[in-house]
């Protein structure tokens, strides 16, 4: 399966979610999937032993007003363009803006999306324009994944949809099940 992992950065793993992406990418690659990370950061750390490709999605500078909108939103056009130029079976996003950009562009025949959602907190949900609406839109159009049952309860309470519980440390075959579910229907 050709899998795109979408993360704004893929450098030296200082970001906890970046470390999750790197670990997942390596495990999927070892399970003989073709894995590509699409990032936009200044550092692209690809080690030959990873068997993971890295694509740099262009990202314009974020102008001032965008700071009141979702983080990494400015990378949406470059991300969609990178996906259009490739042929992935499934895309797995780790940032809300990435998940929203791909699901909102579904008419362009982009791959189905899995989204690893953060543990939702009210203050976080309301701290950006339209963040809550974007989260609901993504929940309707993608497979949302959370790391544990408590996160799932919160997600369901605020977004009114039950996500799937899938921890980063779960075996690869569980991730494969999610991806297979997306590609089959």
């Amino acid at each position: 399966m050709r899998i795109a992992l979408l993360h704004p950065t893929y450098g030296f793993g200082l970001d906890a979610s970046e470390a999750v992406v790197r670990s997942l990418a390596q495990r999927l690659a070892q399970a003989n999937h073709h894995v590509t990370v699409i990032s936009s950061g200044p550092d692209q750390l690809r080690q030959p032993s990873d068997r993971v490709d890295v694509i740099h999605a262009p990202r314009p500078p974020a102008w001032g007003t965008l700071r009141f909108y979702e983080d990494h939103l400015e990378r949406a056009p470059g991300l969609v363009w990178s996906l259009l130029r490739s042929d992935f079976h499934v895309a797995h996003a780790f940032a809300l803006a990435d998940a929203w950009a791909v699901t909102a562009s579904r008419r362009l025949a982009l791959p189905p999306v899995a989204f690893s959602a953060p543990t939702l907190d009210r203050a976080w949900l309301v701290s950006r324009h339209y963040r809550l609406e974007m989260m609901k839109s993504v929940a309707r159009r993608s497979a949302c994944l959370v790391p544990d049952a408590e996160a799932a309860d919160r997600f369901e309470r605020y977004i009114l949809r039950r996500p799937q519980v899938l921890a980063p440390s779960d075996p690869v075959d569980r991730w494969e099940e999610v991806y297979q579910g997306l590609t089959s229907g």
Binding site: F68, V126, R128, Y130, R157, L160
Partner: protein, 324 residues
């Protein structure tokens, strides 16, 4: 779930009408679950309309909430009436589904309550969202006695609601809360502002389309002036809903006279422009960027003010009231 005659009577009933804002309602219910007042002293009643489709939010753990439904697709007036009539609590507190009461809200209202006083609390933009209050975004702010009595933070003794028959269902949307308060006060009751009973109101992000939709969404506001002409003293210059509308008409007069008196046209437009830019000019964190953003928002705000004023004039004509 109906109120049983054998159930203990709470001191306060909180009534929340809601429509298609389930996540915001969840935030409001979570805030009520954190009230310092003991849970057995108050009850919460949420009222939806039958036309609303799910999924619906559930009550938070440990907080008993009664969910009621009005028939068809009804507005906040019918919902509030159903809510207060379904409880036997002697004090009815109204708030909205986009508000979050602070933890001591009910305690402060209970302390101040008596049988002859309607209580108006303080409302402020939610501190977690206040930084988003710019451009076309809107919120609610009540920082002192407000003659329009918005229902986001009001409490009534039950007997006063019974005396006036509750909210007037002639109001579809807009003005029903003001009308209720004025009818209650006309019975000889008094109003009291409780600055410590605080509700945080969400900041609603709006596109231009959303703002234009809101501008025409208060068709029964002029009905308040028709039934309570004394409220006209609280309008700007006794005619305009707010200062922006008055300055808009001055600017339009300038536009109309621009060929004969171009200098007047320029001067007539300045107060309106200053009205919308003054926040950026006096803010302690003012900057060129903030001013540029305010200038960029001028055109959309002009359009919203035009539509809002035209809608107010039109609905005023329906109720034979001149208000712009």
């Amino acid at each position: 779930m109906a109120c049983d005659a054998t159930d203990p009577i709470p001191e306060i009933a909180v009534v929340i009408p809601t429509h298609n804002r389930e996540t915001r309602l969840a935030f409001a219910l979570d805030a009520l679950a954190e009230q310092t007042m003991a849970r057995d002293r108050f009850e919460v009643i949420v009222v939806r309309s039958a036309a609303q489709e799910g999924p619906f939010t559930a009550a938070p753990a440990g907080l008993d909430v009664r969910f009621l439904t009005t028939p068809g697709s009804s507005g906040p007036t019918d919902k509030r009436n159903l809510g207060w009539r379904s409880t036997r609590a002697p004090l009815i507190a109204f708030t909205d589904d986009d508000c979050r009461p602070q933890t001591d809200w009910l305690e402060r209202l209970a302390e101040a309550a008596d049988d002859e006083t309607l209580l108006q609390g303080r409302t402020q933009p939610d501190p977690d969202e206040a930084h988003l209050l710019r451009g076309l975004a809107r919120s609610q702010s009540v920082t002192g006695p407000n003659p329009w009595y918005p229902a986001c933070n009001l409490a009534y003794p039950r007997k006063l609601l019974e005396a006036v028959g509750g909210l007037d269902e002639a109001y579809s949307f807009g003005g029903e809360d003001t009308d209720l308060a004025l009818r209650v006060l006309s019975t000889g009751a008094t109003a009291r502002y409780i600055g410590d009973a605080v509700v945080d109101h969400c900041v609603v992000s709006r596109s231009l389309t959303d703002a234009l939709r809101d501008a025409v969404a208060w068709p029964t506001f002029p009905l308040v002036l028709s039934k309570h002409p004394e409220q006209r003293q609280y309008l700007y210059l006794s005619v305009f809903r707010n200062e922006a509308h008055a300055l808009l008409y001055l600017a339009l007069a300038g536009v109309a006279l621009r060929r004969r008196a171009p200098r007047f046209a320029f001067l007539a437009a300045m107060p309106y422009i200053h009205h919308h830019l003054r926040g950026a000019l006096v803010d302690e964190n003012r900057s060129v960027r903030m001013l540029a953003r305010s200038v960029a928002h001028l055109a959309p705000r002009l359009l919203v003010d035009l539509v809002e004023s035209a809608a107010t004039l039109a609905s005023g004509a329906t109720h034979r009231v001149f208000v712009a």
